[in-house]
């Protein structure tokens, strides 16, 4: 399988320049929500492969396993019922880390090496380096990273990097019974997606499209939606980007702060050299 080279592209909180120079294709997951039956094989395939303990759940009146992903549950099918002029729909979408091209989590992370992005596009958390600060949870526009109350570190989909490295596809993709999930290079999968979108448009879904939001540098999850004009129906933000607060902090504010702090220290030094100390009028001070 191409793209199994685990060379680093980005490292969180690292001053180092991008270490990877090899020309490796970006890998991606393909999710066709129009052929997903919401069977949840991917949910447990993920847990089973990653040896994640089961969560305690309750039936609250939905087929959805739980309201959100958790530190032990990285892959959730979101169910939603929707009715419009075209009839009744029951949407199911596999929700997990989108492996953004420009990952907000990585950008927000203050711990060197706690979040890395490989040249093949996989964004992976290194719990050994994670300090549990939760900045990634603020940086992620998809609400993916989840803090484990047990280890106080953050977890999410690894795209089964251990499998991918030896040429196996991620556990969720392999499990998928209907073939609505595929794995490959993003380039190939965008082609597959484009074809499927054409097919959907021909069969009446005029708003069919691919969800690959540019606001986060594109994602390594290529999602086909029958109603791409309304991604919210599937629980997807319509135009996600790294939160302004985070990007502002990480660039202008940080520079401003650096200048201010260093400037402050330098200014005091100059001040002292020029004006020296203030002395009391008496001799004892």
């Amino acid at each position: 399988m191409a793209g199994n080279t685990l060379e680093l592209k980005r490292i969180s909180a690292s001053a180092a320049p991008p270490p990877g120079i090899r020309d490796t294709p970006v890998l991606a997951k393909y999710i066709d929500t129009t052929t997903c039956i919401g069977c949840k094989a991917c949910e447990v395939a993920c847990q089973q492969w990653n040896d994640l303990p089961p969560e305690t759940t309750v039936q609250i009146g939905t087929y959805q396993t739980m309201p959100d992903t958790t530190a032990n549950f990285w892959n959730l099918i979101r169910f939603s019922e929707f009715e419009d002029a075209g009839g009744f729909h029951w949407f199911m979408r596999k929700d997990q880390c989108m492996h953004c091209g420009d990952p907000g989590c990585l950008k927000a992370c203050p711990a060197p090496g706690a979040i890395v992005q490989y040249v093949n596009g996989i964004v992976d958390f290194q719990q050994d380096q994670c300090i549990g600060c939760g900045y990634c949870m603020a940086g992620c526009p998809f609400n993916i990273p989840k803090l484990s109350s047990k280890t106080k570190t953050v977890y999410k989909c690894t795209m089964c990097v251990d499998r991918v490295a030896v040429g196996l596809e991620p556990a969720c993709i392999k499990a998928c019974p209907t073939g609505c999930l595929q794995f490959g290079t993003k380039e190939q999968l965008l082609e597959v997606a484009a074809k499927r979108v054409d097919q959907l448009r021909e069969s009446g879904f005029r708003e069919a499209g691919v969800y690959d939001p540019p606001g986060v540098g594109g994602t390594s999850v290529v999602t086909v939606l029958a109603h791409a004009d309304q991604p919210e129906l599937y629980g997807l933000p319509s135009n996600p980007s790294i939160p302004l607060a985070v990007s502002f902090w990480k660039a202008p504010l940080k520079w401003l702060g650096n200048i201010a702090m260093i400037g402050g220290i330098v200014a005091t030094a100059i001040h002292y050299l020029k004006y020296g100390a203030k002395h009391a009028h008496g001799k004892d001070s």
Binding site: I37, C39, E43, T65, W90, F91, T178, S203
Partner: protein, 836 residues
């Protein structure tokens, strides 16, 4: 399965999982394949993706299959015959049927006796005895025969008593408006669906039907499936790639279990069980060997004697000799309870007999009757009357633990009241033993043992063998009644208490005891003594061959154990994979494949050829036909197109009209479920199936619509398997609790909130759980009345991981069974709903 066998000759999925990808139109009805067979559903999605196939979902609920369908029609539970009858009517009146196919391959051309009639007002066929309330005389449900005993035909199908004309007349009542009145869908919705479904009448279009327990769990299930079979025949969809009537079985080896005779009514290989009237081997063989009804019918079951004798040799070995009728006397016969009335020992009857105190013991291998039902309380009550119960299982389950106070209190008893001795034997699971499973598509596949069972658990075959051997020792030592049957059983295995599955499979396939000679040329030895049988006709009726199950012949020939084959090649590109495992019968992937070609042997659809005549023989899939029998040169369109395509039936063609095999008539008719919200709009005086005989115990109460106004159905979820995965933490996490799906409007009426607690009560019992309020089930108007449907899944009980709150779905289901298959009506009954 009873229906498929009577219509086509064999009771199994006709095509196969991989073949579904070849379809142009897929009707999912009476099943929710996305939910229950998600991996098999892959091929539906492949068909959609790769050939733009259309998926049509017809169901009481908008379900997971509907979510990815191109068309969804909601119908009322138990009205499938009306819908399918409407489709037949639509196809016939709109000229959307494959006329030539119908002429060639079905009994549409056959003439029916003059005495046959159907009283439309009464809803009854000829032969009904009003006093006995039964079909006392089924003789009118037959063909008009000529002097040689062959059925008369009219190739033009215009004779008023031709099956074709009678069928047309019979279904003329099933107009879109009538369908709407019965099923609750709008007429235009029906017509839209009908147009799509019948679009495959063109020779180069293939349509398949996927159904499962949603059809078999009804009081008219056999007729219902027959109606679907008729539709597929009219559309020319049988025997072709991407066609067929695909029964999706519910368990890993339910097909194999049936094939191997685990049913009270037949022997391994589907030969009917010996009955009391068959006191000699000859009377038995005569009774179970059909006579051909057309000169061109192969009538393969004329070979039944070979299969029966070879099986007796397998059972009784050396004790079975030509002189003693191959030990025929050692085999039990099915008793008659009254003249002409066979005792019935099918599932629901077993528990009725048990409840009536007619049984002392039960051995259960991995079965959980308390949960499986129907009517859990009746089952519980029955079990409590047993002297002994043996359960071999992986996990402790409700049946083995039925005497525990929290379960027994369902029937108001205490452990001290129950004198049943219970043995719970730890059994190996699938991974801990080898052997073969037969899947829905009839693939017999070997699985390899991966690991030893935990603790002291033993493989089932070892449990079986050890029990049997100990009983035999006792009979050998102490004697006893009919001891000869026990002591003479052919238990030849190298390790008798732990029979090797390889040896047993060899026996199932069978071998030559002596040298087998060519039947035409007695000098040629075709099979040496000791050699494994290679084909059906290697068997002999003279005791020179031994074969446990003729249907599986070929799976273990001299070449070795073909069920272990793992060659993935697919030369035809149609998903046949001919060298992967072994596909009964005779490694055929698509049954009745002769129908994939026209009268001259040319495939109807050149792009999907299954079989074609090359001038000398049939090539392609393993022909379901005599391989060298030429198609007739008679012009296409006449009936006589060479040998009949359905070799298992005495007609040589498939049955649209079923001459006497079914209890309620030769054609199907819509009858309401036994518990129905409205009287039958077609004939209110005969609302439900006239052949159904309800049980009469105090646990078999039936509810009326006045008290129980809501229609209820039961089903499975994809997250669970039956009552097993409640022991798995992961699966319990996916679906933690019992819930009831309730239409939004009904919930509002009753003040029920999503996620709140509700109680469902039927005449048999009640069950509580969480409410799932949804728009996926909509209220409907049927017969002029507004009707609500609700439903719930079955998977929880008393034992397992997570919260097990005693929510046995079958506490409310009725013990009403189909009069042919004896399958219970789990899928349609009446309840009332309350906020709990």
């Amino acid at each position: 399965m009873a229906s498929l066998a009577a219509t086509f000759g064999r009771g199994a999925m006709t095509n196969g999982w991989t073949d579904i990808a070849n379809a142009d139109v897929i009707l999912a009805m009476g099943g929710n394949p996305a939910e229950n067979h998600p991996v098999g559903f892959r091929f539906v999605m492949d068909a959609k993706r790769n050939r733009n196939a259309k998926l049509i979902s017809v169901d009481p609920r908008y379900n997971r299959t509907s979510a990815v369908s191109d068309s969804f029609t909601q119908i009322r539970v138990g009205t499938d015959i009306a819908f399918l009858g409407g489709l037949i009517h639509y196809a016939l009146t709109q000229n959307r049927y494959h006329a030539e196919y119908v002429r060639l391959f079905t009994n549409a051309t056959f003439l029916v006796t003059e005495s046959y009639a159907f009283d439309e007002a009464a809803g009854l066929f000829s032969g009904w005895d009003t006093a006995k309330k039964a079909y006392a005389d089924k003789s009118s449900w037959s063909y008009e025969l000529d002097a040689q005993g062959f059925a008369k035909i009219d190739a033009t199908m215009e004779h008023p008593r031709s099956v074709f004309q009678l069928m047309k007349k019979h279904y003329a009542r099933y107009t879109p408006e009538m369908v709407s009145r019965i099923c609750g869908c709008k007429p235009e919705e029906f017509v839209r669906a009908a147009e799509l479904i019948t679009s495959t009448f063109k020779p180069d279009k293939a349509g398949t039907i996927l159904y499962a327990l949603g059809w078999t769990h009804h009081s008219s299930s056999v007729q219902l499936i027959h109606t679907a079979a008729m539709l597929q025949l009219l559309l020319g969809n049988m025997g072709i790639a991407g066609g067929g009537l695909n029964a999706l079985r519910g368990h890993a080896n339910i097909q194999g279990g049936t094939d191997c005779g685990m049913g009270y009514h037949n022997l391994p290989g589907y030969v009917a069980i010996q009955k009391a009237g068959h006191q000699s081997l000859k009377t038995f063989i005569d009774a179970v060997t059909p006579k051909p009804l057309r000169p061109n019918a192969m009538n393969f079951y004329s070979n039944t004697d070979r299969f029966v004798v070879s099986q007796l040799k397998a059972f009784y070995g050396k004790a079975a000799t030509r002189e003693n009728d191959f030990a025929y006397h050692l085999h039990p016969k099915l008793p008659e309870s009254a003249p002409g009335v066979d005792e019935n020992w099918s599932w629901a009857y077993i528990f009725d007999h048990m409840f009536q105190g007619r049984m002392e013991g039960l051995i259960s291998y991995g079965m959980n009757p308390v949960s499986n039902g129907p009517n859990s309380r009746k089952v519980l009550s029955g079990l409590s009357k047993l002297k002994w119960l043996v359960v071999a299982e992986n996990f402790e389950q409700e049946t083995a633990a039925f005497w525990k106070p929290n379960i027994l209190e369902l029937v108001g008893k205490k452990p001290a009241d129950v004198q049943t001795e219970v043995f719970l034997l730890p059994a190996a699971n699938f991974a801990e033993k080898d052997g073969t499973f037969t899947n829905s598509a009839r693939w017999i596949q070997w699985k390899w043992k991966a690991i030893d069972p935990p603790g002291e658990a033993l493989a089932d075959q070892e449990i079986t063998a050890r029990i049997f051997l100990r009983v035999r020792e006792l009979y050998a030592a102490e004697g006893g009644r009919q001891a000869a049957s026990v002591t003479n059983l052919n238990w030849w295995y190298s390790n008798p208490s732990k029979p090797s599955m390889d040896e047993v499979l060899k026996e199932i396939n069978g071998w030559a005891i002596q040298d087998i000679k060519d039947e035409k040329d007695p000098k040629t030895v075709v099979l040496k003594a000791g050699a494994q049988l290679g084909k059906f006709l290697d068997t002999r009726a003279d005791g020179s061959t031994l074969c446990g199950n003729w249907l599986y012949i070929g799976c273990y020939p001299e070449a070795g154990n073909l069920t272990q084959r793992r060659n993935t090649a697919d030369p035809s590109g149609l998903g046949a994979h001919p060298n992967w495992s072994f596909n009964w019968p005779a490694n055929r992937r698509i049954m009745y494949n002769r129908c994939s070609a026209d009268g001259a042997g040319k495939p109807w659809d050149a792009s999907r050829p299954v079989l074609s005549w090359n001038g000398e023989k049939w090539v392609g899939d393993v022909p379901d036909f005599k391989p060298d029998s030429a198609p007739a040169n008679t012009p296409a369109g006449t009936h006589d197109a060479g040998m009949g395509a359905f070799i298992m039936l005495p007609e040589g063609v498939a049955r649209l009209f079923v001459p006497g095999q079914f209890a309620e008539g030769p054609f199907s008719e819509h009858y309401e479920p036994v518990e129905a919200p409205i009287p039958n709009p077609l004939h209110p005086s005969q609302s439900s199936n006239p052949a159904v005989k309800p049980f009469t115990t105090e646990f078999d109460k039936l509810g009326e619509a006045a008290e129980y106004p809501i229609v209820c159905t039961t089903y499975r979820l994809t997250e669970h398997f039956h009552y097993w995965t409640k022991n798995n933490p992961y699966n319990m996490q996916l679906q933690p609790e019992f819930f009831v799906e309730i239409p939004e409007e009904l919930a509002k009426e009753k003040g029920i909130a999503n996620g709140g607690k509700v109680k469902v009560t039927s005449a048999r019992g009640s069950i509580e759980g969480k409410a799932m309020v949804t728009r996926r089930i909509k209220p409907m108007t049927v017969g002029g009345k507004k009707v609500y449907q609700i439903g719930f899944p079955i998977h929880w009980g008393f034992l397992g991981k997570g919260k097990q709150q005693g929510s046995l779905a079958n506490l409310v289901t009725p013990t009403i069974v189909d009069p042919n298959s004896f399958a219970p009506e789990y899928k349609g009954f009446l309840v009332k709903l309350e906020k709990a």
